[in-house]
């Protein structure tokens, strides 16, 4: 069965500092991996996705993620955070059961301090 673990429930980072959010997945087949962001009062927005190929994936808003098969990880990074990056971030793995579906982690809340 597929599952996603986000070990950090809450992270606080200073504006301008770097950010890394951890994601570990469990899936028996080739993983299709996603990162979504949810700002307060808004729906989820796709930041980036990995299907195959280059293990370093670039996304929107200056985010990138690296797929490491040996570690079953897909960590999200941003070199310099802005106050507007304060949000909840969800990692997800795509799987097939009757049709294509997403299984989400529990999320990591990011607080940005001035």
């Amino acid at each position: 069965a597929q599952s996603v673990t986000q070990p950090d429930i809450h992270i606080t980072v200073s504006e301008g500092a770097s950010l890394e959010l951890r994601c570990n997945y469990s899936y028996g087949a080739t993983p299709y991996l996603f990162w979504y962001v949810q700002s307060p009062g808004q729906g989820l927005q796709l930041l980036l996705k990995y299907f195959s190929g280059d293990t370093l994936v670039q996304g929107i808003k200056g985010f990138e993620a690296e797929f490491k098969r040996s570690q079953s990880s897909f960590n999200l990074r941003k070199p310099s955070v802005h106050w507007s990056d304060a949000a909840e971030y969800f990692c997800a793995v795509g799987y097939f059961s009757n049709d294509y579906k997403l299984s989400f982690g529990a999320g990591t809340t990011v607080t940005v301090r001035a």
Binding site: V4, I9, Y32, F34, Y36, G41, Q42, G43, L44, Q45, L46, K49, F51, F90, A92, G94, S97, N98, D99, Y100, K101, L102, F104, G105, A106, G107
Partner: protein
């Protein structure tokens, strides 16, 4: 391009009452999803439609939850009767077609509080 619309944005009801949520997907999107997001958890898929047909409702508590997508456009999700554990944000999402290459676009959600 207009996004996924949902209403109401907030709803407070007492247990054993009924409630309905409405979703209008992005125009032309054939696939529609309803997710339940309980506080502190990630979204969990409740039901998936392809046009006006149900693809998967295996995670839908059918004794109290129902959903329909008449005419393959708008969708409604109903809970009757509601329980305290139904308190959550209900998210609607749509995509052009099923499959991971097709991005799911999410609405802002309906926050349900059951007292």
């Amino acid at each position: 391009e207009a996004g996924v619309a949902q209403s109401p944005r907030y709803k407070i009801i007492e247990k054993r009452q009924s409630v309905a949520f409405w979703c209008n997907p992005i125009s032309g999107h054939a696939t529609l999803y309803w997710y339940q997001q309980i506080l502190g958890q990630g979204p969990k898929l409740l039901i998936q439609f392809q046009n006006n047909g149900v693809v998967d409702d295996s995670q839908l508590p059918k004794d109290r939850f129902s959903a329909e997508r008449l005419k393959g456009v708008d969708s409604t999700l109903k809970i009757q009767p509601a329980k305290l554990e139904d308190s959550a944000v209900y998210l609607c999402a749509s995509s052009l077609e099923p499959g991971w290459v097709n991005e799911q676009y999410f609405g802002p959600g309906t926050r349900l509080t059951v007292t």
